[in-house]
Structures are given as structure tokens and as C-alpha cells.
């Protein structure tokens, strides 16, 4: 494993009984990277997250995190890993400060170090004035911040977050990303997160698109978008299949049907619009032209529309 690698996953599979959730997956995440696992629910990203967080055992394959093998050095990995789960992990009956205190003790922090670090984290995340309030009096957004403070408390080298934006309003989401970018810049923390939100994934350095337990694509957002051939043209019509065939016959280009919409990927999409509308004036209800998005990448690589799998 190269020295600048934070996570190396090779041939990892995970099954729940008969169902395979992660299927022979291999990839590498560089140190200092902001890396996103993008996929709809059921794509296997949360299972992979649980394996990487050491919550569930590694069934098959090899994982190395920050130079430690997951099968022999679990404890070493755990002490360098900060984990923020999707489900809340705070004790609602305890105060914010008490929650952080227990967390710090579980990670072997001394009382003095803990007192300093607690103050620092709560200030950094803007929850210092709520430190002595019970968690069950906090709003959802506030709780997410405390979760993040809890995960970062022991200065992990690698922060794992499972769907961190769930339940956050756009402002809070922007704050979260600002904080993540800041710890990456300042402390060189590698950040790995899962999301099902396409617009969130675009903020990452690199994206792994997951589909049915496999890696559908892995690259920078720009490269992924560029990999889709040109612009995407979507046509709504009464009889999509017939129109797709007609387009194919007339222009000798590929037209696919997805969820009742005819779809073309072509460079110079704007020229195609007039060509298509002139050729089939009475068949086209609406036609839209777009630059390729991550959704187009997902469709291109998997043959499925992204949201239909939700």
C-alpha cells in the first residue's frame, strides 16, 4: 500500500445471509482526500461504511486503514478513526458536555486534555452555549453538530460519516461542508462520507458511485461528468419507444427510453433540439437540454435512473 493511502480496500464482499450487499469491491482512498461514496439506498454504501468503521466484521477481502490491517489491528484503527453514524449516537438524557466526556474517556483521553478539547470542539461547531443542556432539548441540526464534535473529539486522522446531511437544512449543510474542508486543510484529516444526494457528492475530491454492491464509477466529479458524451437531451412524448426507434432510424444515433422519457447523449445538444423538433413536430411534448450531471453519469454507468431506486 502506498504511503499516501488512507484506506485500501481489496476484494471486499459482505453478505447478509443470502443477500450480497457488497460485491468484490476494491478501491483506494488517498490521505487528505474528501471522498464520497454515492449511491441510492440499497447500493451497499452503508454496509461498506459499517465495515470500514469496524462496526461489523470483515467477511471477505482485505482492508487496510492508515497502514493498519483490519483483520489484525482493529484497535489501532479504532483509535485513529472518527465515526459519525447516520443514526443518532448521543445519549439524549445526558448533556452535550457529558456526552463528549464519556466519548473522550472511551478513547483514553485524560481529563485535562478532554476539558480543553471539549471546549475547542463545541466552539468550533457553534454549540458552546448549549454545552450544559440535555441533548433531548436540542434541535436536530444542533444534535448533528454535537455528533460531529463527538466524532472529531479525539483528533482522528480519518473521519467517516454516514449520510451526514440527513435532516440538515441547506444552511446547516453548507456549514458542515465548510467545517469538513477546514479540518482537511488545517489538520490534514482524510474525510470519507456516504451520501445519496447527488448535489452533495459534487463537493468531493473524488466520487465512488455504488450500484448493487459494486463500484459503478470512480473519479473526480469533473472527470465523471466529462465522461458522459456531451449534453443530455430528454424528450417527453406519448409513445417513447416508437419515438426512440424513429430517432434511431432517421439520425442513426442511440436513443434510449428511461421511465417514459426518450434520452439522447450528444455533443452540441442545442443543434439537436431544432433538428428533433423539426423532424417530429407533433410527437414531442417537451424537450430539455442539460449539461451532464452526476445523475447522467449514474444513468450512463448503470442503465438505471438514480431516484427510481430510492
Amino acid at each position: 500500500m502506498p504511503a499516501d493511502s488512507a484506506i485500501a480496500v481489496s476484494n471486499v464482499s459482505h453478505r447478509y445471509g443470502e443477500r450480497i450487499a457488497v460485491d468484490d469491491l476494491s478501491l483506494e482512498i488517498k490521505a487528505g482526500e474528501i471522498f464520497v461514496f454515492l449511491g441510492p439506498n440499497g447500493s451497499g454504501k452503508t454496509t461498506l461504511f459499517r465495515v470500514l468503521s469496524t462496526l461489523i466484521p470483515l467477511q471477505a477481502g482485505e482492508v487496510s486503514i492508515l497502514g493498519h490491517s483490519m483483520s489484525t489491528e482493529t484497535t489501532a484503527i479504532r483509535s485513529k478513526l472518527g465515526v459519525v453514524f447516520q443514526a443518532p449516537s448521543l445519549d439524549a438524557q445526558l448533556s452535550v458536555a457529558e456526552n463528549l466526556h464519556h466519548q473522550g474517556r472511551l478513547y483514553g483521553m485524560s481529563r485535562q486534555e478532554l476539558a480543553e478539547r471539549k471546549k475547542q470542539m463545541l466552539t468550533a461547531l457553534g454549540v458552546a452555549e448549549r454545552a450544559n443542556d440535555r441533548v433531548d432539548t436540542l434541535s436536530g441540526g444542533m444534535r448533528r453538530r454535537v455528533e460531529l464534535a463527538k466524532g472529531m473529539l479525539h483528533r482522528p486522522r480519518l473521519l467517516l460519516l454516514d449520510e451526514p446531511s440527513t435532516g440538515l437544512d441547506p444552511g446547516a449543510r453548507a456549514d458542515l461542508w465548510k467545517y469538513l474542508q477546514q479540518v482537511r486543510e488545517k489538520d490534514g484529516v482524510t474525510i470519507v462520507l456516504t451520501t445519496h444526494l447527488l448535489e452533495e457528492a459534487e463537493r468531493a475530491d473524488r466520487i465512488a458511485i455504488m450500484h448493487q454492491g459494486k463500484l459503478a464509477a470512480l473519479d473526480t466529479p469533473v472527470a465523471l461528468q466529462a465522461s458522459v458524451g456531451g449534453d443530455s437531451i430528454n424528450i417527453r412524448t406519448e409513445q417513447p419507444r416508437q419515438l426512440a426507434e424513429a430517432i434511431h432510424a432517421k439520425f442513426d444515433c442511440e436513443a434510449t427510453v428511461l421511465d417514459g422519457t426518450v434520452r439522447l447523449e450528444q455533443p452540441d445538444g442545442h443543434q439537436w433540439i431544432s433538428r428533433l423538433v423539426e423532424a417530429f413536430p407533433d410527437k414531442i411534448q417537451t424537450v430539455t437540454l442539460g449539461k451532464p450531471t452526476l445523475e447522467d453519469v449514474f444513468i450512463d454507468r448503470t442503465g438505471h435512473r438514480y431516484l427510481s431506486e430510492e
Binding site: 447478509y16 459499517r50 468503521s53 469496524t54 462496526l55 461489523i56 466484521p57 483483520s71 489484525t72 489491528e73 482493529t74 484497535t75 489501532a76 479504532r78 483509535s79 478513526l81 465515526v83 453514524f85 443514526a87 443518532p88 449516537s89 448521543l90 445519549d91 439524549a92 438524557q93 445526558l94 457529558e98 466526556h101 464519556h102 466519548q103 474517556r105 472511551l106 478513547y107 483514553g108 463527538k150
Partner: protein, 263 residues
Amino acid sequence: MANSLAASVPAGPVVATLAQRELVRFFRQRNRVIGALVQPIMFWLLFSAGLRGNDLGHAFFFPGTLAMILLFTAIFATISIIEDRREGFLQSVLVAPAPRWAMVLGKILGGASIAMLQALLFLALGWLTLGITSSILAVLMAIGLMAVMAIALTSLGFLIAWRMNSTQGFHAIMSVFLLPMWLLSGSLFPDDAGSWLTVLSRFNPLTYGVAGLRHYLQFKDSIVATDALPSLPICWLVTFGFAAVMLVLSWKIAETRTTGDLL
């Protein structure tokens, strides 16, 4: 799971912090505190009054009520492991670098402390109302035995609760297993050499705790015969063995990961 010991965090603070959390949570739930105090006093008065026909006084039911307090409080305290799992707190404990046995011990000692607090309050009440005539040493020994019983019973609760994902399931276990365990401990029915109840009770580890308490705790105006009971060394041995076995089993079960970890 093979772990490099060097990287593991010191166990002491882990045990202390988790035990402390149990106590703080307990005192923050006022109805839990009140219920835990009122119920045994009520049972004690009701059993003593209702079974007066058997010529057994308040003194007879006192050690059994102590055992009940320990049993129910200890075991209810460990139900919180189901809540920890459901509410998500447990997942962050499970990915921490602390040794698993320290986590288990913290949880168990926390629950056992809650049970002990209540049992000590009840003991003080007995002292005030019945007048305990035992020597100070005997009372201290009784407290020591209660502590071992509390650890054994909390571990038993942990063992049952670990694989459960609902508190409803726990209540079923409670009525078919824990309540009979108490009924068959010599707490409620006096020893009778010819009775199958007594024979059966000898297979119940809790019997030895109750018998030990009967040996140690003597009351004014009421002499409870202890001749037929298991001897004190046997009581200690069985109670210690019970605690040790339950602790080790709890530790072992907590090293296995259940699908309930996945929320």
C-alpha cells in the same frame, strides 16, 4: 478478534465512565427512582401481612425482599443495553478502541451500583423498623454478599438483554424465568426438607445468596431458623461462582456482534 494490546486504551477510565453514566441516567429518571423504592417496601409489607397465617413475620421476608430488590433493579438496569442499542449510543461504544471486557464491566458495575444503593436503603429501613441484632461485622459481610449477588444478577440481565432488540421480549423472560427464580430462592417459602420446592431451590444460585443473608441478618423479637440452610462457606462459594460465570459469559457474548448492532 485479534487486537494489538498496545493500542488499546486504559480500561479503568472506560469502566468508570460507563458505570457513572448508568447512575446519572438512573437518577435523572425520577419515576424509576421512586418505583424502585416503593415497590419492594410495598411487597415486603404485603407479603408479611398476607402470609401472617404461616406464622412468618416481617423478619422472615426481609432477606427475600433484599434479594428481590437486587434481582429486579439489577436486571432492569441492564435492560438499558437494549435502549442503548436502539437509541444508537451503543454503536459509538462498539467502534471505540476500549477493550470489550471493560465496556461490559462498566455497564455491569453501573447496574450493580444502582441495585446496591436501593438494597442499602432498604437495609437501613430494616434496621430502623425491625432492629437488626447482628454484629456490625455480620452486617458488613451481608453487604459484601449483596454486592456479589448484585454483580451476578446484573451480569445475568446483561446476558439476556444483549441479543434482544425490544424491551417487550425482556418482559416475557422476566415472567417465565426471573420471577420463578426469585420464588424458588427461599425468599418467600420457608425451607421444608420434604418439599420438592426446597429440592428445586438448591439448584438455584440465588438460593445461596438469600440463605447467606438469613445467616447474617438477625432481628429483634424474631428468630428465623437457619440450621437447614446451606452453610455460609457454601453460600459464598456458590454466589461467587455465579457472579464469575455470569461475568465471563457476558464478556463473551459481547464479543459476538449481533445484527441488532445495525441500526
